[in-house]
Every structure is written in C-alpha cells, then in structure tokens.
C-alpha cells in the first residue's frame, strides 16, 4: 500500500515515488479483531458488487447527483433533438426569432401564486434574437459528447498503458512510464490548446478524440500501481499454473479486481474533461462559432454581462451542475469501492441507540 493517502481530487498530483519507495509497506491500522468481526457480519453473504451497490446507495449526495445528471441528460438530449432525430422544443439553436420581451429578457417566470411559466424564450434571447434555451441545450450536447468521449477513450488508453506496464514490468514498464512522465510534464491546457489549434474549428467528436490523448496519464499510473500489487497475489499464480495466457490473466483475473480504481478515476476524469473542453472553447481553441459549446457561449456573451446577464448565467450554470454532479457521483463511487471505509455512527445516533436500549 502506498503511504500517501488517496488524493481526493488530483490523482496526477501524487508524486511519483516509485523510485524512492520501492518496497515500503506501512503498517496500516488494524482495527482489532472485534471491529473486524462486526464489519464482516455486515457484509456476510454478499457479493462484492452487492456490497459496493449498497454503499453507493447510502451516499445521499451521489444519489442526488445521479438523479440531477440523469434529468439533465434527458432534457439535453430530447429537447432540441439530436442530429436527424427531432426534439420537442419549438425553436432551433441556429435560427433567429423576433424579440419576445424588449431586450430579449427571459420569459421564464417562477412565482408561488401562478406556478411556472416557460413562455416563448425561457432563457431569453441575445441581441439578434437567437433562442438562448436552444443554444444552451446545443452547447450542453456538445460538451457532454466531448466529456463522454474523453472519459471512455482516455480510460481505455490509460488502462491499456497502465495494465501493460504493471503486468509485464521490466523494460516495458520503464519505457511506458517514462513516456507517461513526459506527457505529464506537459500541462494539460498546453497540449489541449496545441491539439485544439491543430484540429482547428473541430466538431465535438474530433475535439473529444484529440483531448483523450491529454487526460489518460493519471489513469495509467493508478492502474499500473494496482496491477503491480495484484499480479503478486495467489489467484494470479493459480491462473498461470492452470495455463492461462497473459492476456487472459490481465482481462479475466486482474482487471475485474482493479475495476474500482478505474471507475472512480474515470468519473473524476470526466469532470475534469468538461472543464477542459469549456475552457478551451472559451479561449477559442476548442469548438468554434458557428458551432456552439457551453464554453464559447460564455466567451461570446461575457461582455454582455451588465446588460444581458442571462446570456452568461445559463451556460455557466449548466457547466457547473454537470461537473458538480459528476464529482459527487465520483465521490460516492470512491466511498463505495474503498474497502477501508467504515460506517461510523454519529454521536447522536449512538445516544439514540443507548436511549432505546435503556427503555
């Protein structure tokens, strides 16, 4: 086990101590046989998946985030439709419409007495008359596409590199890890901007593909560390004795055991990805006008903040809500997969239990 506590947010901020602390093994706090027994009892007869699922469902923040993200994804994908599939929203993101309220103010009205009125342009309009709701939806579609693409592809690359390096060790490991080090030395924004400049005026898909090559390094390091420890376990020896090939051992035996680390990191990677994409689009190195992303909406309308703040609030709000939900889901997953996690009842709960017992 690494002596460094799991970094909560920045996996790539963990210094590479592989050279310095080759085989140090800190004595972790063994909680004592009694506590262990209680824990074992709590998870008796449950599969690993069931334990993780239970723990995850207990994390209220993560569940709330999951619901919010799910609702957002449904809204974003169905409202203006996607590609050839039509949506239910009446306006298109590229057309201009007559200004409904002078100044293009939002027609969304929420009051206690009259309920919610969406009106013609709930998120308002810009000076030319674009419908802000449709534009935000389009931007969110693009940003979500980039986010998921980066998440999937970067995870795949990271797992591939990390698994190969960790499993085969030796020269392969050194070579791959030096390459990872080189990529880590390049700030994400820099390589993102150079790539963005390269695929100039990219669509969401090309941008997502390009940026996936920026975000895989942290994943590969974590997977490598996980593989290095898992490959020494008995079940790997057993599989090898049974005649399994290296590929089979990696895919069938080790990978399922490393899935916790991978899933948690993939979530965190996605929240970083949406911020990276919007930042690049904001700076003009990502998705360009006339195509829309949340980042270039903010960039386009930031100067209008004093006159038309809604043009600025809505895209920003969507970025934050998406990133925040993904972060919370990641936190819930980390808690769920962390074997050391213990449920410690609060003092109030203990007191309540004591009162109950006394009665």
């Amino acid at each position: 086990m690494s002596p460094i506590p799991p970094s909560d947010r920045q996996p790539d901020a963990i210094p590479d101590l592989s050279g310095a602390i080759a085989d140090i093994d800190t004595v972790t706090g063994t909680a004592g046989a009694g506590e262990n027994a209680i824990e074992l009892k709590a998870s008796e007869g449950l599969s690993q998946g069931q334990i993780v699922r239970r723990r995850f469902l207990r994390h209220r923040g993560a569940i709330a985030a999951m619901v919010v993200l799910g609702a957002l994804v449904i809204l974003i994908t169905t409202s203006i439709g996607w590609g050839p599939i039509p949506g239910w929203w009446k306006h298109s993101y590229s057309a201009t419409y007559p200004i409904a309220i002078p100044g293009g103010r939002p027609t969304l009205e929420i009051s206690l007495s009259e309920g919610i009125h969406f009106g013609e342009h709930p998120f308002g309009q810009d000076t030319v008359g674009h419908d802000m709701f449709a534009m935000t939806m389009r931007g969110a579609q693009q940003s979500l596409t980039v986010m998921f693409l980066i998440g999937l592809l970067a995870t795949a690359i990271g797992v591939l590199v990390g698994a190969t390096a960790g499993f085969f060790r030796g020269r392969t490991d050194t070579l791959l890890m030096r390459f990872t080090d080189m990529m880590i030395a390049i700030p994400v924004m820099v390589i993102g901007m150079v790539l963005g400049h390269w695929v100039n005026g990219a669509s969401a898909v090309t941008l997502g593909l390009a940026l996936a090559f920026v975000e895989w390094m942290a994943m590969s390091r974590l997977v490598r560390a996980e593989f290095l420890s898992l490959r020494e376990r008995e079940f790997v020896d057993a599989a090898r004795v049974a005649g399994a090939s290296s590929a089979r051992i990696i895919v069938k035996h080790i990978l399922p055991n490393a899935v916790g680390v991978i899933i948690v990191n993939a979530t965190l990677l996605m929240s970083a990805a949406i911020l990276l994409e919007t930042a690049l689009s904001y700076l003009g190195f990502g998705i360009h006008f006339p195509d829309i992303s949340l980042g270039n909406l903010v960039s386009e309308y930031q100067s209008a903040f004093t006159q038309r703040p809604w043009l600025f609030w809505w895209p920003g709000f969507f970025i934050i809500v998406i990133a925040l939900s993904v972060n919370f889901i990641g936190d819930g997953l980390r808690d769920a997969f962390d074997p050391r996690q213990r449920r410690i009842p609060s003092k109030r709960k203990m007191a309540r239990a004591a009162r109950k017992a006394a009665r």
Binding site: R9, Q10, S299
Partner: protein, 511 residues
C-alpha cells in the same frame, strides 16, 4: 543521497528531452508560420514566403529542426545559448521570458500561499468534525469550487469584486441587513466549527456574531473603507489576539509563561510602533524582509528571556507572534497610503483593477506602489485561490483522517495527553507530510496552468505569452514557454521526493 539526486536529475533530463520533442513535433504540425503571409495579398508574397522559410529553416525536416533548436538551447551550458527569436515581435524569446516569469511568479506565489493556509485550516477542521453538518457543508462547497470553470468565476469577480465594489466605494455605507446577515453567518459557522455541547456551541456562535458585527459597525462608522488604519491601539489589540491564538495552538493557554512571552513580544512591537514609522519612510522590499527577520529574532529573544524549562516553546511561540504582529504593522502602514492612492488621478476612486499587473506610470513611494500591486493582485489571486484551495482542503482532510485513525494517536491519547497536544503535535505534523509533497508539484502546475486567469485579467505572464505565441504560429515562443514550465514541473517532482524522504523516516532514498 547525492546519487539519488543525480539519478533523478538524469531521468528528469531524459523526460524533459522527450517532452520537448513531443511538444515540438505537435507544434510544428499544428502551426503554420506562413499562414498569415499566404492569406495576405501583398505584391511581394513569394519573396516574403521565401524569406520566412529561410529565416525559420522550414525546408529542413522538423526532427532535424528540433535538434538544431536543442543545440542552440544547449549553448546555455557554455554561455552562448538562445531560445530563438519570436517571429511575432522580433524580440528574443529569452527577453520575453524575462518579463513573463516574474509576473507569473508574483501571481502564483500569492495565491498558492493563501490557498495552502486556507485549505489546510479548513481541511483540518473538517477532519476533526467528521460527519458533522460543517463537514458536509464544506464538502459540498469544495466540490462546487472544484466544478467552477475558471473563466466563469473570473467574469463574475470582475463584475462583483471590481465594478460593483468600486461603485460601492463611492458611497461606502453598509446596509444594516448586510451587517446582521454577515454577522449571523459568521456566528453559525463558528458554532458549527466549535463542536461539543450545545451550550458551548451557542456561546461561541454568539461571541463570533457579536465580534463580527461589532467590527463591521466600526468599519462603517469610522469610514474605514476610505480612510483605513489600525493605529497603535489596533495593532496592539490584533497583536494580542494573535498572541493568544498562537499560544493556544502551540502550548495551550494554561502555560502562563509562554502566554506572557507572546504578550510581551506584542508589547515590544507596540513600543517600536512609532520608531518604525520613521524607518518605513525609506522602505523597500529588502528593508521590509530584513525587519521581518529582526522581528522574529526579537521574538526568540523575548521567549528565551522568560526562561523556564520549556523556553524553546516560549521562543517559538513568541517568534511566530512577532512575525504575525509585523504583518499587522505592515498592513497598518499600507492603509495609511490608501486615501492618497484612492484620490490619485490614475485611480480616481476605483481602486480594484481588472486589467494588468500594475497601473502604468503611477510612480510614488514604496507604499503607494505596493498598494497598487495589491489592488491588481486581489482579483486574479481570489480566482486562483477559489479554484485551487478546494483540492488542498480535500487532501488535508483525507490525510488528517488517516492519521487520526493511526495507532500512535491512540497511544498518545492512552497516555493521557490532552486533545490539543494530540491534534497539533502528533496528528497535524504527520498529516502535513503528504501535503508537503503535493505543494511543489501544485506550484509547478499552477505556474504552467494559470493561463485562463492571466488571460482574463490581462496579466502579461507565461500563459499570455504562450497563447499569443500559439495564435501567432510562433514555435520558438511556445517552446520557450514550455521548456520553463516543464523543467519546473520535473524539478518539482524531484523536490517532492526529497521532501518526502526528508520528512518521513520510513523512506530511504539510498537503496
């Protein structure tokens, strides 16, 4: 040890070599130095293309060009190296770097220090109050800050932190609702942090509410925002407060000798207040830093003079108090320059700046220009702190939680140490070890990654240099930026390893 450093440095150089190669190749693919000329309709287009091609050696394959560039750069080893010349400005890249690096250092330095102090404090507090309402609240907010896009925050800060605040300064009158609201919020947070019994929480909350409200009423009544100043009384009071807090953390208030040592240091500071004002007339950064060291030395002296078996604790506490107290004296003197700064023709009553690192052609004394630097630093620093401190909070929290569950903490409690000693002396120090390894790497990352913040606040630092070079298809500018940031990142990694080895005796670097 030396062999370890040498080995790591050698690996670092190889990594740097590889990384620069990758970036060089990517940039050559991405940029076209001839793009502007090709798009132009100049009559001598063909000539211009040929000239630039010859200038930049574009006929040579990129790989060879990389080694040529590397060779010129390696010339620094024997004193005649060069980063190349920017095709945008015709300046050497080295001279551009000479301007950009100090600007970014200023920005990063301030924000990293504040972010660490804030992050560690909040992280420790949430760890000690795990699963409390305060813990959940801060968790939510750290996630929120972590999800904030830098550019969005920066635009908001410009609007509310600068434009509206400057408008407010024209007629600085705090509404009653704001005074009570902020006071109440402070009270609630303090009550949540205090923990313990309901009665303790209530007392702490009420005290915090009263204190904050009183300060705000005073600020309003004394026209503090336009004519600030602590005066000798204010410096004495805040100093005494610092003395009590520092003592409470370092040795506990029960140790009277330490408390008296800290308080008498504050006394010395108050006595020196008026003489210092004369010294401040010839102030410059070396003088100020020198005074700071002197202050710490005085603190040590006072602490030792109180004697006793634990005079080292007294010395340490008094020195820390003196250092903090000096900050108040310094702030007090800065505040005296504030009215003149506000009314200066270049500022015209709108002090918080949204653009650039300094007001051009401002002139004035040391205090005047320092005030100017600070008003320019406020917004970009706030933006960077908001975004970075969240990760420090989470990191400190998880590290502290891990330590608090360790066996030696149980041992410390079992042998009867009080909670303060356990937390401050046993847990806190060990919790900081992993943090110490994150900080150098983080500094390097912020240094290369403050691109957006620099861009929005128009600081002519490294990030701006990079963006302009990339937009202008200037490969040497991009490479100049990259060599500096990558070298810093690699050095930071080595430093982090060394710090870790130095702080944690379980790790040996010589194997």
């Amino acid at each position: 040890m030396l062999s370890f450093i040498a080995r790591r440095a050698a690996v670092g150089l190889i990594v740097l070599f590889g990384a620069t190669f990758i970036v060089f190749m990517m940039v050559t693919l991405a940029v076209d130095p001839l793009a502007e000329i090709k798009a132009s309709s100049a009559p001598n287009k063909q000539f211009l293309i040929e000239r630039t091609t010859a200038n930049l050696d574009l006929d040579t394959p990129p790989v060879l060009r990389y080694f040529k560039w590397l060779g010129r750069l390696a010339g620094y080893l024997w004193g005649n190296g060069t980063f190349g010349v920017s095709i945008l400005t015709n300046q050497t890249v080295a001279s551009q770097l000479a301007v950009a690096v100090p600007t970014t250092v200023k920005l990063v330095f301030a924000s990293v220090i504040i972010a660490i102090l804030l992050g560690v404090t909040v992280g420790i507090t949430t760890a000690l109050r795990q699963y409390s309402a305060f813990d959940y609240l801060t968790t939510f907010f750290t996630f929120l800050f972590y999800s904030l896009p830098a550019f969005w925050v920066a635009v908001l800060l410009k609007e509310f932190g600068a434009i509206r605040f400057n408008n407010f300064l024209a007629h600085p009158k705090l509404p009653v609702a704001v005074v009570v609201g902020v006071g109440a919020a402070a009270g609630v947070v303090a009550a949540m942090v205090a923990g313990g019994r309901a009665r303790t929480r209530l007392t702490v909350g009420v005290i915090a509410f009263a204190a904050v409200t009183a300060v705000m009423v005073y600020v309003d009544a004394a026209n503090f925002l336009l004519e600030p100043g602590l005066g000798v009384v204010g410096v004495g009071l805040t100093g005494a407060g610092a003395a009590v807090v520092v003592t409470a953390l370092s040795s506990g208030l029960g140790n009277r000798r330490v408390l008296y040592a800290a308080l008498s240091t504050v006394g010395v500071g108050v006595i020196l207040y008026y003489p210092l004002q004369f010294v401040f007339q010839v102030a410059s950064w070396p003088v100020i830093l020198g005074l700071w060291v002197v202050a710490a030395a005085v603190g040590v002296g006072v602490g030792l003079a109180w004697g006793g078996p634990d005079r080292r604790v007294s010395a340490r506490t008094a020195a820390l108090t003196a250092v903090i107290m000096s900050l108040f004296v310094f702030a007090d003197r800065l505040m005296k320059a504030w009215p003149a700064y506000l009314s200066s023709p270049r500022v015209r009553g709108r002090p918080i700046s949204t653009l650039g690192a300094v007001t051009p052609e401002l002139g004035g004394t040391f205090w005047f220009s320092t005030t100017d630097v600070l008003t320019h630093l406020v917004l970009p620093t706030t933006a960077l702190v908001l975004i970075t401190f969240a990760s420090y909070t989470r990191y400190t929290r998880s590290s502290m939680l891990e330590v608090m569950n360790a066996d030696y903490i149980r041992t410390a409690r079992a042998k009867g140490l009080n909670e303060r000693t356990v937390v401050v002396r046993h847990a806190f120090r060990n919790a900081l070890i992993p943090l110490a390894t994150v900080i150098p790497i983080d500094i390097a990352m912020v240094f290369g990654g403050a691109i957006i913040t620099e861009r929005i606040f128009s600081w002519r630092g490294m990030g701006t240099m990079f963006i302009e070079a990339l937009r202008g298809n200037d490969i040497y500018g991009v490479m100049g930026y990259f060599v500096v940031t990558a070298a810093l990142a690699i050095a930071a990694n080595i430093v982090a390893d060394l710090i870790y080895a130095g702080l944690d005796p379980r790790i040996r670097v010589n194997e």
